[in-house]
Structure formats: structure tokens, C-alpha cells
């Protein structure tokens, strides 16, 4: 929505967190975590380019509002507990 020239700063000073961009909509494949197999190594969290993984007691919780489905977490997981499935499938 275009803002009036009176409502914007003099020059584009960006001051809103990028969480305004729901980049999870870009996702075509989706990580599914088998939390029972998780060894809490935190490697998936470490390598997430979008900081879209939150650790809850060391176990990854994926923030699907922002996960773009790159699959790095799945590939890097040493215990192979993250699998990528097609978006829209169950």
C-alpha cells in the first residue's frame, strides 16, 4: 500500500524487522523433524541461513513463516531425523 509522502521519512530508512516478509510462502519442500530421533546436537540450528529454527530444549522447532525449505538442516543433520517432504503433502 503506497504511503503518502507526508507519512514517509526524508529518505528510505528501513526500520521494520524483516519478519514482515513471510518468506515461508516461497517454500516448495518442507522439513519434517522426527523429534524422537533428535540428539540435540543443534547442528540444524547452526546452519539455517534464515535463522528460522528455534531451539526448544535443544530440539529444533521450525518457524514455517520463514523457512524457505532449502533443506540444509535435513542434509546436515547427523542423525538423519529431518526429512524434506513436498509442500502440501501430509
Amino acid at each position: 500500500m503506497t504511503k503518502s509522502y507526508e507519512e514517509i521519512p526524508l529518505t528510505p530508512i528501513a526500520d521494520m524487522p524483516s519478519t514482515m516478509n513471510i518468506t515461508g510462502l516461497w517454500r516448495v519442500i518442507r522439513p519434517v523433524v522426527d523429534k524422537k530421533k533428535c540428539k540435540k546436537c543443534t547442528i540444524c540450528w547452526k546452519f539455517c541461513p534464515d535463522a528460522a529454527i528455534v531451539l526448544v530444549e535443544g530440539v529444533p522447532e521450525i518457524d514455517f513463516r520463514f523457512c524457505k525449505g532449502c533443506g540444509i538442516c535435513s542434509h546436515e543433520c547427523p542423525s538423519k531425523c529431518i526429512v524434506m517432504v513436498k509442500e502440501g503433502s501430509d
Partner: protein, 185 residues
């Protein structure tokens, strides 16, 4: 003048789809123009492209706001993007949608055509198995949906525009033409 809007994601060949349609129409003697919304969107991000078809020279350089047709290359866009925005009443939408699943909850003012372009493209070895390139199959489906483009013109346009695997793309489009059907959402 007929106006078409394409929805897809960065990297899916959305812009090429608009060019294939334009060239097919041009081959039939129409005047055409095809153009992308050129943003800085990245791979996977929603992108749009447009095409115009007319029987007289097209001078219009403004964007398209009220298309006659929309083409949705990726049904995951149905959540998040208003792909039907501005579609004319009785306008038609072609959606890449998996077989065996019912299209539901869409605006009744429009006509809907579905096609499992992902499976068809994958079966013909276009793109990778995880990310098939569906643009040529979708254009086969477009011929079925619209009343203006002949299958021959479309197939020839695909043959000319496919960067690799010309014949695979052509046969995918043919199969897509056969398998496209209108549905009542």
C-alpha cells in the same frame, strides 16, 4: 485484446511461459507482447509475468490489472498470493494441480481448469524430479482452456523456445493438452 497473467516462482520459467504463449499467438498472425514484472525476487519467491494478444498492433505499455486469463504454475501460491485478483467475470484460471485432489473454496464467478503439470513434466524428464519445469506443460493446458491458440502453433513455439529437450517439452505439452479439464470448485 486478450490479457493473460502468469503466476509462478523465481526459477520456474514463468517469464519464458509468457514468451512461449506470445510467440504461439504471433505464429497465428496475432500481435503480441510479453513482459515480466521485473523485481529483485529470488529463487522460490512469487513472480508474475504478463502477455497481451490482439489483432491490431499493441501499443499499450502499462501493466495488466484485469486479465482475461490467469495461469498458476505453482498451486502453493494459492495460499498467500491473490492469483485471481482483477480477473474479469467469467475469466478463466489454469492451475497446476495434482490429480486426485479437489480444488475447493474458490470464487464462483470464474471458470477453473486444472492440470497436473508437475507429474507430466517429471514423467517427461523436464527439470529435476524434485523440481520439474512445468511451463511448457502449462502452455499445452492453456491451448485447451482458451479458444484462440491452436495446438500446432503452441507446440512449434515450445520447440523454438525450449533451451534443451525440445521434443520432450513438446510431448509434455501435448499430453497436458489432453489431460486438462474444467472443474467446478
Amino acid at each position: 485484446m486478450i490479457e493473460v497473467r502468469f503466476h509462478g516462482r523465481g526459477g520456474q520459467g514463468v517469464v519464458v511461459a509468457s514468451e512461449i504463449l506470445a510467440e504461439a499467438a504471433f505464429r497465428m498472425g496475432f500481435e503480441v507482447s510479453a513482459f515480466p514484472f521485473f523485481g529483485v525476487e529470488r529463487r522460490g519467491a512469487p513472480v508474475t509475468a504478463y502477455a497481451r494478444i490482439d489483432d491490431k498492433p499493441i501499443r499499450m505499455k502499462s501493466s495488466i490489472y484485469e486479465p482475461d486469463y490467469v495461469v498458476v504454475l505453482d498451486n502453493s501460491l494459492l495460499r498467500g498470493v491473490d492469483v485471481l485478483e482483477g480477473l474479469k467475470p467469467q475469466g478463466r484460471a489454469l492451475i497446476n494441480y495434482p490429480d486426485g485432489r479437489k480444488l475447493e473454496g474458490l470464487d464462483q464467478r470464474f471458470r477453473y481448469f486444472v492440470l497436473d503439470a508437475t507429474s507430466i513434466a517429471a514423467a517427461h524428464g523436464i527439470g529435476s524430479q524434485t523440481a520439474p519445469i512445468v511451463n511448457t506443460a502449462m502452455m499445452g493446458g492453456f491451448v485447451k482452456m482458451c479458444d484462440i491458440i491452436s495446438l500446432d502453433a503452441m507446440l512449434e513455439s515450445i520447440r523454438q523456445n525450449a533451451p534443451v529437450k525440445e521434443e520432450e517439452n513438446v510431448s509434455a505439452a501435448k499430453e497436458a493438452y489432453e489431460r486438462t479439464k474444467e472443474v467446478q470448485p
